[in-house]
């Protein structure tokens, strides 16, 4: 999509800038689907149960047609020497944190999109490429995306990844909660394969009950906190842990939904610089128009 060079981009911007700056963001932003169903599904990740076998990584790649390699190669634990983040080649990764008590086993943490109830990626996206489905999944539409990557900056968990090494039609990549599988009545691929059921799939509200019961019954095993219960307005994927979440590299987040486009971009890249929202709307608008132009050219 971003085929034009920088000069022609700036030229177009200057030309149509004046017209668009007057528009409200609502007008430039396409309609988004944001459904919060009572029965939306979720996953409870119990980090005290996960053994770090990385079978979920393999299953995820296999389910999403990404090169997965040999399942047995995932038993190699040397990958844990460095911290990894999900990217366009692995929508979920597992990391390992050594236990402060050296006689105990390390803690493994699977990382993927949290499928927020109030997704910052969704509110950041100016063309409405993201939607929160009633199943709980936050999904992304390649047709609408203009490649602006606002979602990457907005996401409090740094999840959306961009296919930087793809010259043609690079996509945003992130966990889609296996929406194709779940609509067919299957479990998400990672949940299905997990040997120890460290990933429990169920209605989000049931999972919160399950998590509370576990914390109550095993106070020595768990800290009294469910990550994702209230953070950034609640998430579909939630975590239980035996140690502080910050020790496991989870960001410390408030209960308010993560700021959407206006705040996050200002805070994220242009801190102290106060460009009006309209500038972003303008830039986004230009890209959108360009993409449309390209598309019609292709047709």
């Amino acid at each position: 999509m971003l085929k034009q060079d920088r000069r022609s981009f700036l030229k177009t911007s200057a030309l149509i800038g004046a017209g668009i700056t007057g528009l409200k963001s609502k007008d430039t932003k396409a309609q988004t689907r944001h459904v919060i169903s009572e029965d939306r599904m979720g996953v409870l990740v119990d980090t005290t149960v996960c053994i770090g076998c990385r079978k979920c990584e393999w299953a995820c790649k296999t389910a999403h047609d990404l090169p997965a390699g040999d399942i047995e190669s995932y038993e190699d634990r040397s990958v844990y020497e460095k911290m990894r983040r999900p990217d366009d080649k692995a929508l979920t990764v597992v990391n390992e944190y050594s236990n402060p008590d050296p006689t105990k086993l390390p803690t493994n943490v699977k990382v993927q999109c949290m499928h927020c109830d109030e997704p910052a990626c969704l509110s950041a996206c100016i063309v409405g490429a993201f939607s929160k489905d009633e199943s709980g999944s936050v999904v992304w539409d390649t047709e609408k995306c203009i490649g602006c990557r606002y979602c990457m900056i907005a996401c409090p968990f740094q999840i959306p990844a961009f296919e930087y090494d793809k010259a043609l039609q690079p996509d945003i990549k992130k966990c889609d909660f296996c929406i194709e599988r779940t609509t067919q009545g299957q479990l998400p691929a990672c949940v299905e394969i997990c040997p120890v059921e460290a990933l429990t799939y169920g209605r989000r509200k049931d999972l919160i009950e399950v998590a509370r019961k576990k914390i109550k019954n095993y106070p020595d095993r768990y800290i009294d906190s469910i990550l994702g219960d209230t953070e950034v307005g609640g998430t579909s994927w939630m975590y239980l842990s035996g140690r502080d979440f910050q020790e496991l590299d989870f960001p410390k987040l408030g209960e308010d939904p993560a700021p959407g486009v206006s705040e996050s971009i200002q805070h994220g890249i242009f801190a102290y610089f106060v460009p009006p929202i309209s500038l972003y709307a303008l830039l986004g608008g230009v890209m959108w128009l360009n993409k449309k132009k390209e598309k019609s050219k292709e047709e």
Binding site: L44, R77, P102, L207
Partner: protein, 369 residues
């Protein structure tokens, strides 16, 4: 009238019998009946037990000989065909379980009497309504992997089951485990620890002494050991905390304040009652376990006065013969103190009745045997 009294008698004895039965119920004291039984009056034929877990551990120990030798865990076939079923050497595992918590290590929340397999409580489906306990696949793996990875520090699926695609048809067979037994564990006798404690760096531990003196089972101390305690293939360079180091000892010893009880500057000889206390555990006391004299709850110090423990001894009930001396007729009826002044039972005195020239052992008060 006679008939009625027979009926009453039968009724009374039946109810006494029933009461006795109830008292013998292993859990009756600690639990409410409806904790395990779903009906008002459970019977032997229909105990109406809830099959699923309660919040407490309820379980019985069974002799390992009763344990099934091999169990083929193939219930998960319907869920996934990635890996082949596990051939689980149940008895071999059970043999070692008493050091790690016994049968209930795996058969947790087991109602008394019957032994339930995992599948009785854990549903064989990941899409289910009761999410409070793991499904069958999760339950199996949690039980196995937690020990196996402590042992190898890896998660090697192939150590229990191969990928189905790697199985050549005739390779799937149940191995014969009937002859395989866990080798007998060789009990250590003396272990000397060199510690970093300045006031006493040496701790000498006589393992057999503890076992015999205190009448201990392996599981009295090793109740929480994992297989990895012996089998760890790559022991981590661990630095356990002071607490962890003392955990086993502190069950009985005061490891907080009384350090020099165990930590001294040199190797300690074996426990010797006479050397340490001055009281020789002669042939009569040698085989008595410590608790019979020193009390069952906590340690009770004693003096060497026989009467402290043997409060009921009198000429009428003490058979002097067991000391190796049958008292002569003239001595038989005397009170103990006549010869054993001040409770000295080692050496009698004769001066209460005899002249000074009559002394023990030149003159014996009876016949030696």
């Amino acid at each position: 009238m006679k008939k009625i009294s027979i009926i009453i008698l039968v009724f009374i004895s039946a109810s006494i019998y029933a009461q006795k039965e109830l008292e013998q119920h292993p859990m009756a004291k600690s639990l409410e009946c409806n904790y395990c039984h779903s009906c008002e009056i459970p019977t032997k034929d229909d105990p109406c037990l809830y099959t699923c877990p309660r919040t407490h551990m309820v379980t019985l120990q069974h002799p390992v000989e009763d344990a099934p030798e091999v169990i083929v865990l193939d219930e998960l076939k319907e869920q996934s065909d990635l890996y082949a079923p596990v051939v689980f050497s149940h008895r071999l595992h059970a043999e070692m379980s008493n050091m790690a918590g016994g049968c209930q290590l795996c058969h947790h929340y087991n109602p008394p009497g019957v032994i339930l397999g995992c599948q009785e409580c854990h549903e064989n489906s990941r899409s289910r309504t009761d999410l409070n306990k793991p499904d069958l696949k999760g339950a199996y793996h949690r039980q196995c992997i937690d020990c196996h990875r402590e042992w190898t520090h890896e998660v090697e699926c192939a150590s229990c089951h191969l990928l189905n695609e790697k199985i050549v048809a005739d390779e799937v067979q149940v191995k014969d485990y009937s002859e395989i037994k866990h080798p007998k564990i060789i009990e250590p006798t003396k272990i000397v620890y060199n510690t970093e404690f300045d006031d006493g760096d040496i701790v000498t531990f006589y393992h057999d002494e503890h076992v015999n003196l205190f009448n201990l089972d392996c599981s009295s101390c090793h109740s929480n050991s994992s297989c990895a305690s012996c089998h760890d293939t790559t022991p981590l360079k661990l630095e356990p905390t002071l607490d962890q180091l003392h955990r086993v000892c502190s069950e009985c010893h005061d490891t907080e304040d009384d350090c020099t009880n165990c930590h001294i500057k040199k190797e300690r000889p074996r426990f010797n009652h006479e050397l340490i206390t001055g009281f020789d555990l002669n042939k009569y006391h040698k085989n008595i376990d410590c608790k019979s004299c020193h009390g069952k709850d906590g340690f009770k110090g004693l003096n060497d006065n026989c009467g402290t423990c043997h409060t009921d001894w009198s000429p009428g009930n003490f058979d002097h013969k067991i000391t190796g001396l049958i008292l002569s007729e003239s001595h038989e009826g005397n009170d103990c103190e006549v010869c054993h002044e001040n409770n000295n039972f080692k050496k009698p005195t004769c001066s209460m009745c005899h002249d000074e020239d009559v002394t023990y052992p030149d003159f014996m008060p009876g016949e030696e045997i």
